[in-house]
Amino acid sequence: MTAATQTHTAHLDYLLRIADTSLILGQRLSEWCGHGPVIEEDIALTNIALDLIGQARLLLTHAGALEGRGRDEDQLAFLRREPEFRNLTIVELPNGDFGRTILRNFLVSAWQRELWQALAKSSDGELAAIAAKSLKETRYHLQHAADWVVRLGDGTEESHKRMQAALDLLWPYTAEFFSPSPTDDVAVATSVGPAWSALQESWVAAVTPVLEVATLKAPARTPFLTRGKFGVHSEHLGHLLTEMQYLQRTYPGGTW
């Protein structure tokens, strides 16, 4: 590979990691439609899902143009196979109960907020514009989740127990937010975006006080490290894609 091709491939990979993380979390949250514990939360989770899918649409359209093979947002979302997805593993995990869904939204939105802030200065003008816009939306997602994390964490014995169990389950997956990768090295060299490892300190500073108020305790870090952003996924992504891509696989090229 020439240096120019390497840079191009890394740029595309960097975009897909962000786009796919929004897309897959949006798809997971949309599963709550009609199943929320109360109607207000049903509406909140699906509104957040819409924002995330909207972000993914903008990013995938941009990625498709950059790729230069004529693929649009729909082809990238509905016709890629599982190993071609670059989302963080945490977002493909099943929703679990409302508490676990909320806790994941909290951990992921706090990370997205740091990422969008840094990307608003990207040398990729389109990415910078999408990030500046998404940042405003993510602040509301984060507040929504943080309010619930406190209410349920510092709530009844049962709600506290469930939130602590959710944190014990999800926390190890957050190591992937910050693990180093060659794609990040290129993104830094070309000023496309930050190395994700650089976001860890501010993420911890945002997340820790909320968990404290919620009386929840993050488990100690272990060597556990998922690799969704490298295309190595858990068993859950295949099942999710089977449902998400059903229509396009059954009626190839179908539009409306």
Binding site: E41, L50, G54, Q55, A132, K133, R139, Q143, P209
Partner: protein
């Protein structure tokens, strides 16, 4: 063919599909309008990335201008600078209130913290400040759901963005 000014006036009568009390120009999503020899170029910006009204708005803009004899209508989307509720003008804020939606408050750093500061929002119906937030997200992503403890009516609050 239309002049740029005529095109703006026509768009000033195109209602937002979700909030028909105000027009797409008052909402601040029409960023630029330019008459060309063969038609009109319009630049719009979406409110929220996932706003399902975006496509309906583009369609209404095309239809309204075409009906006025604008020729070819070209609608282009622009993301930067990102849309903000600061672009909603005072007259439109008053119309929102009359329609039953509390207009957006000021954007503040306090409202950007993870643990949210819940702003006091006056009831658009009875003006009481004794209100409570029921949900951060109302019928659309751009609004929160509130309830007035004085007149007991629910209402929506257009969130500052």
């Amino acid at each position: 063919m239309l002049t740029t000014e005529q095109a703006w006036q026509i768009l000033g009568r195109v209602a937002d599909p979700e909030i028909p009390a105000i027009s797409v120009t008052e909402l601040g999503i029409v960023r630029d309008v330019r008459a060309a020899p063969d038609g009109v170029d319009v630049v719009v910006t979406p409110t929220y990335s996932g706003c399902p009204a975006t496509e309906a708005i583009e369609r209404s803009i095309r239809e309204a201008l075409a009906a006025a004899g604008a020729g070819e209508v070209r609608v282009q989307q622009r993301l930067s600078p990102a849309w903000t509720t600061d672009w909603i003008d005072d007259a439109a804020r008053e119309r929102l209130r009359a329609y039953g939606i509390a207009p957006p408050g000021e954007r503040s750093v306090r409202n950007e913290q993870p643990l949210s500061f819940v702003p006091r929002v006056a009831c658009p119906r009875c003006e009481s400040a004794d209100t409570e937030r029921l949900s951060q997200f109302g019928a659309t992503a751009c609004k929160a759901l509130y309830r007035c403890r004085a007149c007991r009516e629910p209402f929506e609050y257009f969130k500052p963005l």
